[in-house]
């Protein structure tokens, strides 16, 4: 690729020759320009040389006093050749060499075709800067526009209305025939979420994957003068099956990232966009992006609140399951309580009186949250169903296990301590399905852990057996059941409550009424944990046998 060589003749300075290797050379009064001309007849960003397909072009960047090539004012990008003279204000830029006869005269048609193979991609952030540093009159006009846009954006508005307003604002200033907003969806695809047509535009508002990548992923602002002729935008999902069009596209981006893009379309015959148009669009898009993000966050928060309400409802239903008053019989005193760690939990307890028997269970479903809560509801329902039909405790638990184990592809399981108390004799049978060992609270105040034979948690293996352990209760004796949320409770220093904490707490309250024992034990665990987060559901239940014929 040939570099651009320029002999530069500035007023009051010796001529210099410079060579440029890049793709673009800015000429202007600003010190940021590649060629700075300190002359008030020159605009800050006056003209630009750029290379397309190996050919250098020059274009005027909307300067106040214009750019001439070989004495002719240019209104559109114009190819430059050896021997050409470019006049900018009072300065002259010459391309060394002689005019080549064949290259110099362009037929109008050819020239137009050449010029149309042209698009500009620039970092949107650079353009934002230029909005602030542009010429005074234009800057005023743009600031006025931006002010209006910002004022409009500040008002409360729904997302869809905001997008339409954004299209309206862009249209009022930039006069496209069609405009569309594309958003990046959660799955990464780009969807058109809003569009507008004005006047005669009827071509489909599509965007090539390539353009979407440039604008959304790389946050470039794009000015495509003829996408049909620009090979970079050819290919799949071609923008323009329908004639020569000019496209202006800017990212909807803020500091957090890019949400999508806004694209304006126009037939070249009607309106050809300029870089200044691009600057305006970039500034509008940037203001809108922030607002769209705010609206999205507000809508997400509203959705979360709706979900929270659903979960609260689920919790209410679950608590109703647990808060059913224990059945009343003169032979027993019953109490139970669950403190869920999450808003819905996986622990449960239940008491069922059937005939002369009390059935009870304290259980803990693996995991937490909605899944555990559903499993808990299934487990509790099964327990109620099997105990209603009666039978031998070990067999009933085998049936519960079978129901839970078949097609349990998610490998959820329930640990449970289940019991059956003969109200007449005080004979207590216990089955331990992988659960914490219960405590015996003697009528004399003695506290001891009951060694109930362990078997597999419920739902793990279909054919597991559930042997029964027998514990005779005398009138006044009680059994305390609980879940591991009690012993695994952790205080602020990371210490476990443990069985020692449990036994200590029980020592002071074992002889109180059942309700009070449960209440005090829960309070003790919560007091112990202090401000440490509750990691697990905490469940406590007490069965006290008062004897037959009380």
């Amino acid at each position: 690729m040939a570099p651009l060589e320029l002999a530069i003749e500035r007023r009051g300075a010796p001529p210099t020759t410079r060579s440029f290797d890049g793709e673009s050379v800015i000429v202007g009064r600003t010190e940021k320009a590649d060629i700075t001309i300190d002359d008030y007849s020159v605009s800050r960003r006056h003209a630009r040389f750029f290379r397309r397909n190996g050919v250098w072009f020059v274009e005027d960047l909307g300067s106040r006093n214009g750019t001439d090539v070989n004495g002719r004012r240019i209104s559109e990008p114009s190819p430059v050749n050896p021997g050409d003279v470019i006049t900018i204000g009072s300065s002259v830029l010459r391309l060394p060499g002689d005019h080549v006869a064949a290259a110099a005269p362009h037929s109008t048609i050819e020239a137009e075709r050449d010029e149309s193979i042209y698009s500009v991609l620039r970092p949107a952030a650079d353009l934002m800067e230029e909005v602030a540093t542009g010429g005074a009159a234009k800057a005023m006009a743009r600031l006025r526009l931006l002010h209006e846009v910002h004022r409009a954006l500040a008002a409360p508005i729904a997302r869809a209305d905001l997008l339409q307003m954004l299209l309206d604002q862009a249209c009022a200033v930039l006069r496209p025939e069609q405009a569309a907003i594309f958003m990046r969806a959660a799955d990464g695809s780009v969807e058109r979420v809003a569009s507008r047509r004005w006047g005669g535009g009827s071509a489909p508002m599509l965007v090539s994957r390539r353009l979407a990548e440039e604008v959304i992923d790389k946050r470039s602002a794009a000015l495509v003068l003829d996408a049909q002729c620009d090979e970079r935008f050819a290919g799949a999902m071609s923008v323009l099956a329908s004639g020569v069009r000019s496209i202006l596209a800017a990212p909807l981006a803020d500091a957090e990232g890019c949400l999508g893009m806004i694209a304006l379309y126009s037939s070249i015959g009607v309106r050809r966009f300029s870089e200044q148009d691009l600057e305006v669009l970039v500034s509008i898009a940037s203001a809108a992006a922030m607002r769209i993000r705010n609206i999205d966050m507000a809508e997400a928060a509203a959705e979360r609140r709706a979900l929270d309400r659903e979960i609260a409802l689920a919790r209410d239903i679950q608590m109703d399951l647990l808060r059913r008053r224990p059945p009343e019989r003169p032979e027993v005193e019953l109490a139970g309580r669950v403190i869920p760690a999450h808003s819905v939990g996986g622990d449960f307890y239940d008491f069922v009186i059937a005939g002369e028997k009390l059935w009870f269970v304290v259980a803990d479903v693996s995991g937490k949250g909605m899944g555990a809560a559903l499993m808990m509801a299934v487990g509790q329902t099964l327990f109620r169903a099997v105990t209603a039909s009666g039978g031998e405790l070990g067999e009933l638990m085998t049936r519960v296990n079978h129901e839970l184990a078949i097609e349990n592809d998610r490998a959820m399981f329930i640990t449970a301590m289940a019991g059956c108390l003969d109200l007449a004799s005080g004979q207590l049978l216990l089955v331990n399905a992988g659960h914490n060992l219960p405590y015996h609270l003697g009528r004399d105040g003695a506290i001891s852990m009951l060694n109930v034979r362990n078997s597999l948690a419920l739902g793990v293996v279909d054919n597991a057996g559930y042997p029964v352990t027998e514990v005779p209760l005398a009138p006044g004796d009680a059994v305390l059941l609980y879940t591991d949320g009690v012993c695994d409770a952790i205080d602020e220093a990371g210490q476990r409550f443990g069985t020692s904490g449990l036994e200590r707490a029980l020592g002071e309250i074992a002889s109180l009424p059942a309700d009070a024992v449960v209440q005090h034990l829960c309070d003790a665990v919560i007091r112990f944990a202090g401000s440490a987060p509750q990691e697990d559901d905490i469940t406590v239940a007490l069965v006290r046998y008062r004897g037959a014929g009380v």
Partner: protein
């Protein structure tokens, strides 16, 4: 929780450390699923670095055992500390798993196993 993954020939090794509870067990399950989806059928889960495992963590072990069971592969657990062993034991799950003391023993067991 941290998860270290290694490979010894055909055998994959996954070594979580820290707490395996309802918050972290999903990440462990995802790591195991990835390894198994890649075609690994011989897996060692080394629990030596695990301080605490909750029922949600046990569930991950059960799911893995289920997936590799029935002749589809082999799972060996190793490095169970007292606290971790107690949780497995309490839920009655220990008999369901092949358990070795050390990773070396676990790898040895899988290495001598004929295909």
């Amino acid at each position: 929780m941290q998860i270290v993954q290694q490979r010894h020939g055909e055998v994959g090794v996954i070594a979580p450390s820290g707490r395996v509870d309802s918050t972290t067990s999903e990440a462990l399950q995802a790591a195991i699923t990835t390894v198994l989806d890649d075609g690994t059928t011989q897996l060692v889960i080394d629990l030596a670095g695990v301080e605490y495992i909750s029922s949600a963590g046990l569930r991950v072990m059960l799911l893995t055992a289920k997936r590799l069971g029935g002749g589809k592969g082999a799972l060996v657990l190793c490095g169970l500390g007292d606290a971790v062993r107690q949780v497995f034991d309490l839920a009655g799950l220990l008999p369901l798993f092949t358990v070795d003391v050390s990773r070396q023993a676990a790898l040895g067991r899988l290495a001598v196993k004929p295909d």
